[in-house]
Symmetry: C2
Subunit: 213 residues, 2 copies
Amino acid sequence: MKVKTVIYEDNDQLRDSLELLLSDSSGFEVAGTFNNCMNCIKQMDSLLPQLVIMDIDMPGMSGLEGVKQIKTLYPGIRIIVYTVFDDDQRIFDCICNGADGYLLKTISPLKLVESLKEVMDGGTPMSPFVAKKVFQYFRDKTTINADFQLSRREIELLEYLVKGYSYKMIAASCFISLDTVKKHLQNIYRKLHVCCGTEAVAMALKHKIVKLD
Amino acid sequence: MKVKTVIYEDNDQLRDSLELLLSDSSGFEVAGTFNNCMNCIKQMDSLLPQLVIMDIDMPGMSGLEGVKQIKTLYPGIRIIVYTVFDDDQRIFDCICNGADGYLLKTISPLKLVESLKEVMDGGTPMSPFVAKKVFQYFRDKTTINADFQLSRREIELLEYLVKGYSYKMIAASCFISLDTVKKHLQNIYRKLHVCCGTEAVAMALKHKIVKLD
DNA sequence: TAAAAAATAACCCTATCGGGTAATTGTTTC
DNA sequence: GAAACAATTACCCGATAGGGTTATTTTTTA
């Protein structure tokens, strides 16, 4: 049983090359090729493919929007983004909108076919450069950039503040006086270099001093 | 020039197999093999490898800790995590601590050697299952879970609040009266189901209504 | 064009916030 | 054992936050 595939690619030559490549490759059957994805939902309705190869930069509607629409209505259809763009924004947008793989056009035809097979096996193929960006993203996002030298007690009070507790509620929860709460918060604001509670909450969450569930 | 490699793996049989596999493979040279990574830094100091293959579950010190220590002192050494564990926590911890690849032990010897070559070419090899988890993580993390029906203006004011602006400062920045600011924030608090500014900031950041840089 | 929603503004009022100053008790750390 | 630090409490005081009520204008939507 061959994999029913639809190709979205606005470059005529490349689109024909892709069709030829897949027709030659045992395992794939090209059900349709289009130079834009403005009617992608209608095309999905009528062609019911198992796999979509999607370019990003196309006239009318971007491939990103196409991925979003198709995945919303047909979450089972596998979508491989195939593009020249390697910037963080587009990569992460496509992933978040449901792409099952992200391949740069620098990939060899052999690797491309391998990747298409991989995605039909439930895998998530991506170009090495994309994989690197994804790993880097995790490292950047989880690195705690600052040590504000807050004491254990101060962090505890800060957690209550993030939860939206008033000074009075914090005092009751910690079994300490209101004045002590004020003193602690005052020290916390000084250490965080902020001047009010709202800013302290933003700072605490930004630097992951306290976590949200 | 062969790639100088060190192997950390507490299963004696597997460790020997790995050494044999890499010795057979043109391109790699095993500089040392160990059944724990308690002295990994000293071993790095003396062996100065280009590549480390790291198991996670080892006696004494976990491979995760090993990755962290080695990457802190020798960021240039490539580290491939090679393990049976496929849970989110361990995968993401290893990535965040600097692993350059994450391979499950279900991988074939051929693919393993390919992946080691890939990482030395600057790539980031990972098992298909790991790639899937990573993509899924992005989708989960960026999905906005709630629609609070805030107007454009309300979101604008909320952004100022997150920055730590006082009501008065917001009024000045938006060129509106203090009373209008109060009214807007009152509506915002009602829509977010919170009762004060600090809680609103936490809610706004939690649900990504506003972003931090 | 009518209705609904968003944005604007004013007034009143009280609880809370948050800074300053000063002092007492335990705990670490050197 | 002295010194430094963390945690605690108290008092004073002014600015701010935030709720209630009412009303006008502008923009959006049906």
